[in-house]
């Protein structure tokens, strides 16, 4: 039997000496140039971190290449960020510019720090998930291609803006709290293969999986039936019962959500809210999605105050103004009808015309 339960390598062994020595002693940081963080310790020690974009889905070549670079300029030390960027940890300030030069030469994009749009947090998509309604990698590549100047700092934004892409409502990318998120959705109800279901469906589990109680047992067929009036096409039943299929290339696509955030800075964390209910899958460019995201970014950037996250801005101006400024249609889809729907209705005459 193989060795088990020994856990990951100890992070302490992965830290450059300057971090070990100044662990917990950092005093402040500055951003000497876009994409570069300079952390200064109470001891006076300095650490530069150079952040570069990563496609997240990488090859061994990529791993080896960044390893080479790290070795050359960082004594072999590097890290990844929680948004999947790579950070080169430079202890020796003299090596900073050479590093940047090499990164530039190798077409790494430096950025994602401070007032910028950082990398997209995204999920598997058609690359590897059986539930994927769309391809997260493809959409993310297109959006970031379009917004790269916001990443590199060429164009400034009023505050950080976080984008997430999830290929289905399971939202492995935690789209529910991003400034902008793109979520794959279905628009037709699942089909039940009764024959198969009678063999392998754990019926009680399947019934319990439905958020809206749309699934009822079908004892005759030893299967289940789906109430088309109640089904909201979430696909959760298909996750627990292989005999239920929901994929529909004609009608599947993505929705766009805005105004979420997680930091407690100024306002408490907020959920993202529905902006665009549906855009069809249009690979390889998903141009409507890219356009919509750019449009949202631009409207926000040109109206928000300094430091104002998307959600803070919308809360200040009101959703009616948001829909006006973005020229997006407000539809019956935008009105919540799930459990806490009534808490989202407006109980006040305070609104803008």
């Amino acid at each position: 039997m193989a060795r088990t339960d020994f856990g990951p390598p100890d992070f302490r062994e992965m830290l450059p000496p300057v971090i070990k020595e100044n662990y917990g002693q950092w005093k402040y940081h500055t951003v000497p140039r876009p994409g570069v963080l300079k952390h200064v310790s109470y001891s006076g020690a300095v650490l530069h971190s150079v952040r570069v974009a990563s496609p997240r889905l990488v090859s061994s070549d990529f791993i080896r290449d960044i390893s080479d670079i790290a070795e050359k300029y960082c004594d072999g030390f590097l890290r990844f960020t929680t948004r999947n960027n790579v950070e080169f940890l430079v202890s020796d300030e003299a090596k900073l510019q050479p590093l940047i030069d090499e990164l530039d030469a190798k077409d790494y994009l430096i950025g994602g720090v401070g007032l910028s749009i950082s990398n997209i947090v995204h999920t598997q998509g058609w690359i590897h998930c059986k539930s994927a309604v769309t391809d997260a990698s493809g959409i993310s590549k297109n959006i970031m291609e379009d917004l790269k100047d916001y990443f590199t700092g060429k164009i400034k934004v009023p505050s950080r803006l976080r984008i997430a892409v999830a290929c289905c409502v399971n939202m492995c990318g935690a789209c529910h709290c991003s400034d902008i998120s793109i979520v794959g959705i279905h628009r037709t109800i699942p089909r039940v293969n009764d024959e198969l279901a009678s063999k392998i469906c754990e019926i009680p589990t399947t019934i319990a999986a439905c958020p809206t109680g749309a699934i009822r047992p079908n004892p005759k067929a030893k299967s289940v039936t789906i109430n088309s009036e109640k089904c909201m096409m979430c696909g959760n039943c298909t996750a627990v019962c292989p005999a239920i299929k929901i994929m529909d290339p004609v009608n599947d696509g993505v929705s766009i959500w805005v105004g979420g955030k997680l930091s407690n800075s100024r306002k408490a964390p907020m959920f993202s809210k529905l902006a665009i209910p549906f855009i069809p899958n249009n690979p390889p460019y998903w141009p409507e999605v890219t356009d919509a995201v750019r449009h949202l970014v631009e409207v926000w950037a040109s109206h928000a105050r300094e430091g104002e996250r998307m959600g803070e801005w919308i809360e200040r101006i009101g959703w009616e103004r948001f829909f006006k400024l973005t020229d997006l249609p407000f539809t019956n889809k935008h009105i919540d009808d799930f459990t806490h729907a009534t808490t989202t209705f407006r109980s006040s005459t305070q609104f803008k015309f």
């Binding site: 193989a2 856990g7 390598p9 990488v58 072999g76 960020t81 292989p242 407690n264 306002k267």
Partner: protein, 397 residues
């Protein structure tokens, strides 16, 4: 490589943003799996539908999870992705690596798998993307030789992750990487052997900026805070002012609790500690002048999760303040109490937040032995449906 064409995907090699297609192509040079992955993906792009089958229960000896099984639904066309499982490899806390370690990893993975990775998965793992059932066990065995263990999947404690914390951040109130390291080691069994009704995630952000996105993505979010006064370096404040920094506009007026005031005469920034809710704004905007307090610890939030089934949740305050000192016994005890209760009471696939919603937060507090405090709620109830225990009232006259 030249026996197949991927015109749609090739489009995504263009431009400056790094391309995942190029990455797959690089791997495809030596990995037939990567090559077939690209072909199958091209098919998906053409047909606008995924080509993975439902299910996949594969694994390695002694573990109940850590691997996500995957089978192509067009295996005849793309035989090298007939089986294309991913291994979730527990990342290093804080995502720190040495070049050496990464190269070792690449060597093993090139041997047994597709040579493709997610660095990292949303939960935090290194995702080794695509191998066969056969190769799984030897791959994991060799990973163990270089010190990498699997992470979690299924009804288990999931791989824990955190923000960079004290290693590089001046705002860190708690030692996020150490906490994650410690908990990960402590919980190896429940990480590797699913024994719960559903997943349970823990993430640590060392301050309320929540760079680990903990409060939305973990059943238990540990967030660094402090409870004394934030520290103001008046000298540094004056330097900001001298450089034209608009302190009233950018800081004082944006403080959500009106805790700050700028004494223009004395050239002093004052904080009313009682009012400050540690929103981080002033600290974020004036990192050189304002810093976190000294009496640090964590706020614990419970119940964060995504929509399925009962709708999305952002974790709710469970413990306003807990000291965080190794070996984090108080935290572990609480985690054990929570997961025990949850495991005993949850339905299949019911997250802890959903169970709390079902039974009531107050009831939950009682079973795990926490006192209700107003910090737990945005506001008290507004409906009059108050439950009284028979023990709380007198016997009916």
């Amino acid at each position: 490589m030249d026996e197949f064409k991927t015109p749609l995907l090739d489009e995504l090699e263009k431009g400056d943003w790094p391309s995942f297609v190029s990455e797959i192509k690089k791997a495809a040079k030596t990995s037939p799996g990567a090559a077939d992955l690209l072909r199958q993906l091209e098919l998906s792009y053409k047909e606008k539908v995924g080509h993975w089958k439902h299910g996949g229960i594969v694994g390695v000896r002694g573990y109940g999870g850590g691997v996500v099984g995957r089978y192509s639904d067009v295996p005849e066309e793309f035989p090298h992705v007939r089986e294309f499982h991913t291994a979730r490899v527990n990342q290093v806390a804080g995502f720190f690596y040495t070049a050496e370690k990464l190269r070792q990893l690449a060597d093993v993975w090139d041997k047994y798998g597709s040579g493709l990775y997610n660095m990292h998965g949303s939960t935090g793992d290194i995702i080794l993307l695509g191998t066969t059932t056969e190769n799984l066990q030897p791959c994991v065995d060799e990973l163990s030789d270089i010190g990498f263990d699997l992470g979690g999947s299924g009804g288990a404690m999931r791989t824990l992750s955190c923000c960079v914390g004290k290693a590089r951040c001046e705002k860190a109130c708690i030692d996020s990487t150490d906490i994650i390291r410690d908990l990960t080691m402590h919980y190896q069994d429940v990480i590797h052997r699913p024994q719960w009704p559903y997943k349970f995630k823990i993430k640590v952000s060392a301050c309320p900026n929540d760079c680990a996105a903990a409060s939305a993505r973990s059943d238990l979010a540990v967030m660094g805070v402090w409870r004394d006064a934030l520290r103001i370096d008046q000298e540094a404040v004056r330097e900001y002012i001298a450089k034209g920094f608009k302190i009233n506009e950018q800081v004082v007026n944006k403080c959500p609790t009106e805790a700050l005031s700028w004494d223009a005469e004395k050239q002093e920034l004052n904080v009313c500690t009682e009012e400050c809710t540690r929103c981080m704004h002033c600290i974020n905007v004036m990192p050189k002048a304002i810093s976190i307090g000294k009496e640090t610890g964590a706020t614990l939030l419970i119940g964060g999760k995504v929509p399925v089934v009962k709708g999305p949740m952002i974790g709710w305050v469970l413990v306003p303040f807990m000291k965080m000192e190794p070996p984090y016994t108080e935290l572990k005890d609480l985690v054990d109490k929570i997961t025990d209760w949850w495991a005993d009471n949850a339905k299949n696939r019911e997250r802890v937040g959903e169970l709390i919603e079902r039974v009531g937060l107050a009831n939950f507090l009682e079973v795990i032995g926490l006192k209700p405090v107003p910090q737990m709620v945005k506001a008290p109830r507004h409906n009059p449906y108050i439950f009284w225990n028979p023990e709380e009232v007198e016997k009916r006259g």
